[in-house]
Amino acid sequence: MVKQIKSYSISIRRNEDSYMNFIIEMDNSLTVIDALDEIRKKIDSSITYRHSCHHGSCGTCACIINKKERLACMCFLNEFEDNKIIIEPLTSFKIISDLVVDISTMINKLEGSTYLRESEIGKDSIKPNGILNWNRFENCIECGSCVSACPVKSDFIGPANLASIDREISKQTDEKVIKNLKNKAFKNNGVDACDKHYLCSKVCPTKVYPGKHINNLRKIKSKN
């Protein structure tokens, strides 16, 4: 890939449904989040957006970029051949300001007694004293992309929450807790509300494949 400085036209949805257009010169190996930083620093210090890690791990920067849910920090400028980028906030969440949405409505409902899971590599290897299992963080970075992309908008607890229920069932040993989790998944606003569009799995940036978890829960339900 050849690094080039190119001019980009970046349209950002501001409050009250108005869009603001910015023209900036950027190194095409950088990302949309770098472009937003550059606009904020050089042109308009008032644009508001969320970001933290710049490498696809925190989940704060999800937006709709050219009509698709994306992590702005993992969206490289060189993929936009016509150099035109439209950035909008996620749908399904209340907009706080510009690209900032109130993601708490999703996060408050997520299950998870721990954010850690067993690492898939080195499972059978010897481990040092004090390490029972190699562990790592969950795949879900709680970005909200799946919830935004899901076409089912009425009374549905949403793909991220269902995925978190399925993950938690696999970690739990306490039958009572498992039963509670299943009850949540099998309520009317749970798996049955899913219309099987599976856009969640398409947009998820970290391979959670919420659709797969939803189907897993369906299987458990049919066995019950």
Binding site: Y49, S52, G56, V100, S104, T114, I121, P128, I131, E138
Partner: protein, 399 residues
């Protein structure tokens, strides 16, 4: 506990500012934190993610190493959901590296870090992708941090006390003095586009690499050099442990695995601007080769991304008295001493791993200045889950 209804404004919303807020809130202060973007949108969110047990610093500075050991153990206890704890390994790749081995182990032990040499055959059992030519390997208690979730756990803890007010998307644009006191700060609310004046009894500048610019708003000359570094992430996790080169701490010698990624870092250059908008290609090439030296199969991993962030490096200051804790890698500056301003403190430097200690030191200094005798409680209280930050009212301006 001493009665305390003092109001403190903290400028900045990185790990340092958030940890200070948490500590002060537990001591009963009312705290307003002001951050121009999202929390941790400066250096904190972007760091490499190593929970330093201190081994990296053992040969260079025993005090820093000791502090990292203590703090990493505390964080593992109080913030378990923000840390992958799989330990770490230092590997010697050549005869040059081998020269440091005994000194390295002894220096770790001197700093109370339980470093232990293990047979290389065992090292390959732990980490199958390791370079088969390694000459020695030493086990240490390193780990991986989720930078955002660690800092946010502290923010959740602060909100839980009901003493914290977090104003994100608020930028401090002036610091208003009256005689030898800071009376207020003027902030611009980027959500409403309106200006606000916020008064307080004391002000803390925790602006990381921006802290020099912030000090300037109060006509204070604080010498801070933003010192950026690059990190490179590859798709796929190559190891469970943090793996570092056993030699004198340098560039590109730490590999931090995280979730499904392998992250190699870092480099270091000096910039006069804390806002970093470039990732040098030579850094990326260098980091890739350095990773391959340790894990040959890194070569076949798909590029994920590369990014850079600026360390807040504390520069010289004329008066030694006003700079505390030179034995640490952060400096706490009481602006009364050099700059004749009674109620402002700056803190510069440090690491994500030592955020809690930085909170403690600044809060101790503030209590001392105000004649309050209130003890720090942050080392033993288990922090709430980071998700509590949202539950307690994330809406850009939490109360």
């Amino acid at each position: 506990m001493t009665h305390n209804n003092n109001h403190v404004v903290i400028i900045g919303g990185g790990g340092t500012a958030i940890a200070i807020m948490y500590d002060l809130c537990l001591r009963g202060f009312k705290v307003t934190l002001i951050e121009k973007g999202e929390l941790t949108s400066g250096t904190t969110g972007r760091h490499h993610g190593q929970l330093h047990c201190g081994a990296r610093y053992a040969m260079g500075d025993k005090n820093i190493a000791k502090e990292c050991m203590i703090e990493s153990a505390i964080l593992r206890n109080i913030a378990p959901n923000a840390i992958e704890y799989n330990m770490g390994m230092f590997v010697a790749l050549n005869d040059d590296d081998m020269q440091y081995k005994d000194l390295f182990i002894q220096s770790c032990l001197d700093a109370d870090i339980p470093a232990r040499e293990i047979p290389t055959s065992l090292a390959f059992e732990y980490e199958k992708e390791l370079n088969k030519n390694i000459k020695a390997s030493v086990l240490v208690p390193d780990g991986t941090i989720d930078p955002w979730r660690l800092a946010i756990s502290f923010a959740a803890g602060a909100l839980k006390t009901k003493n914290a007010e977090i104003k994100t998307y608020h930028e401090v644009i002036s610091i208003n003095k009256k005689f030898n006191n800071i009376e207020s700060v003027t902030v611009i609310n980027h959500i409403t586009h309106k200006k606000e004046i916020i008064k307080a009894d004391a002000f803390i500048n925790a602006g990381g690499p921006w802290s020099g610019k912030i000090a300037k708003l109060a006509d204070i000359d604080l010498s801070v050099s933003p010192s950026p570094g690059t990190m490179l992430a590859a798709k796929k996790r190559i190891s469970n442990m943090v793996v570092s080169r056993l030699h004198k701490a340098g560039d590109g010698d730490i590999i931090v695995p995280q979730r499904q990624l392998t992250i190699i870092g870092s480099t270091q250059w000096i910039s006069d601007n804390p806002d970093i908008n470039r990732v040098p290609q030579e850094d990326i090439d260098f980091l890739q080769q350095s990773a391959i030296d340790i894990f040959p199969s890194f070569k076949y991993l798909e590029y994920h991304t590369a990014w850079a962030a600026a360390r807040p490096l504390f520069g010289k200051h004329n008066n030694t008295e006003d700079v505390r804790n030179l034995s640490r890698d952060f400096a706490t500056i009481d602006h009364k001493i050099n700059d004749n301003i009674d109620n402002m403190i700056s803190i510069v430097g440090g690491k994500a791993t030592t955020l809690r200690a930085m909170g403690e030191v600044v809060s101790d200094l503030l209590c001392k200045k105000m004649g309050l005798d209130i003890q720090c409680q942050t080392s033993t209280i288990i922090l709430p889950n980071y998700r509590e930050y949202y539950r307690r009212g994330y809406n850009g301006q939490t109360n």
